[in-house]
Symmetry: C2
Subunit: 301 residues, 2 copies
């Protein structure tokens, strides 16, 4: 069976949205990614937590069959993010973030992870992302995510790391920023020149576009009656995408397109409750039902 | 053969975009609508121009088989819009607008139009839109558009007119404003309660969603390498939609979905050049080729 490794943060989140407020809930890229991938494939996590990290959150990750051997536990405070969303909830407002633990994060890949076929490098320092790539023996497919902070502060290192990956997840504003052009089709063609075979531009509620050199695929978001908390939408999207690809273990155009639909479905569940509460309570039938509903809302022939 | 009537402005536009600048070009809702509909069906226009209106523009409308008998010519200056777009071109900045001619516009429907099957009421005073509806003998399908000015200034009249139409074209910001809610699915369900069978929410480059009581259909925009001038995108979209429906003369769910795809294709051509310059130079083969390309970029099974 193929192995899927994910590098990403694990955090405790305090989140305030127009719908409600939660404290000390499980958050972070690796958590949302693993929960999003779990209906399709288990995830071997590379991350770090402090000795204050609640056992119940670790137990949740184990309950979704995540391999937690790559989660370093060190004498520091677990990463914590306090944020809020207002109005249309399209933008998170970070109130406080405690990142000190990341200074001591070594990103050492456990021996048992090194033969993995599929790698996801969550948004972090591009030097750390590259360090993880270099520890792997020969993966079939590497995907990475990034964010505006790295574009502003470590652009050269980011562009170097991009050369080593097969797929770049990036949101529309970041793609525009990184390649200095508004038009997403042109931004994607510039990004492809750095080496990745695929550029996946996320547009939030407006869907996503997957570009390759030869074709592109675009889908709208799944329309929801209510969004409770957008936190982790992009990470669970990436989880659904990589989980599906790892499950089918075949990187064909057809599977990449389906992966993007499953990613959209998973992200739509993620935002329907705080933390991973909704993803915890769905099964493959729920996913397949929403996949079928999505197929119905986009078909025209 | 079915008859398609459109109420809308005809204007002379001065437009400045990052790509270039044009003066005295043909603009206005009825013009873009008729050009957008013309590959599928000719349009009988209800509008008004001044005695300064250039013969070449009238000849263009005749060349696309528009019925121009409903275009009143009065002793006034033709409506003129001067606007510009910057950056991502998502928002028009109106520099000046000369609307005086509309004060003397009677919106009298010619006798030969009154048996029309399909009616499009372009964005204007909702009392004028209702006046046109009341002159018709018994159309099969009435669609209307509106804009924020009427929501701000004649909301009661607007909601009254909405009761009499089958389909409401509205953009996402206006739908949120009119129904006081951010979530588009809920805004659409509120809109449907006023009477229309269909609410078509336009999201610009992000595509569109068509809501009915029983189903909805959503499509992304057609990704373009370059947008030259967004002016008239929504009107040409409505033209493509209504042109297709009038051509097939069958308001089935399947045809409404196809109409939205053709509308998307037509709007994508509209924005590739100033005024109607691109729409003037395409034929059904170009449209079908782009329709097939669109089908390819959204398929996933």
């Amino acid at each position: 069976m193929s192995k899927l490794v994910a590098l990403g943060t694990i955090a405790l989140d305090n989140v305030n949205t127009p719908v409600g407020k939660v404290d000390d809930v499980l958050g972070g890229t690796a958590s949302h990614f693993s929960a999003g991938a779990s209906p399709f494939h288990n995830v071997s996590i590379i991350s770090v937590v402090g000795n204050d990290f609640p056992e119940e959150h670790l137990n949740f990750l184990k309950s979704i069959n995540a391999d937690v051997n790559g989660i370093e536990k060190i004498d520091a405070k677990t990463m914590r993010w306090t944020g809020s969303y207002e109005g249309d909830m399209n933008h998170a407002k970070t109130l406080t973030v405690e990142l000190e633990i990341l200074n001591n994060f070594k990103a050492e890949v456990p021996e048992t992870y090194k033969d993995a076929d599929y790698i996801f490098l969550g948004n972090t320092d591009p030097d750390i992302q590259l360090k993880v790539i270099k520890q792997m023996k020969g993966p079939k497919f590497i995907a990475m995510d990034t964010m505006n902070w790295w574009i502003d502060n470590k652009k050269a290192e980011l562009l170097e790391t991009i050369k080593h990956v097969d797929l770049l997840f990036i949101n529309d504003a970041e793609a525009r920023q990184l390649f200095g052009i508004h038009n997403l089709k042109i931004a994607a063609s510039k990004a492809l020149k750095y080496g990745p075979k695929y550029i996946l531009i996320k547009k939030g509620e407006h869907g996503a576009i997957l570009f390759s050199k030869d074709w592109h695929f675009t889908i709208p978001g799944y329309p929801l009656d209510e969004v409770v908390d957008p936190t982790g939408a992009g990470d669970s999207f990436a989880g659904g995408f990589m989980g599906w690809i790892s499950k089918v273990d075949d990187i064909s155009e057809s599977n990449l397109r389906k992966a993007m639909v499953y990613a959209t479905i998973i992200a739509s569940f993620n935002v329907q409750d705080f933390s991973m509460n909704k993803l915890k309570n769905i099964n493959m039938l729920d996913i397949q039902n929403r996949y079928n509903a999505f197929r119905d809302i986009v078909r025209f022939e």
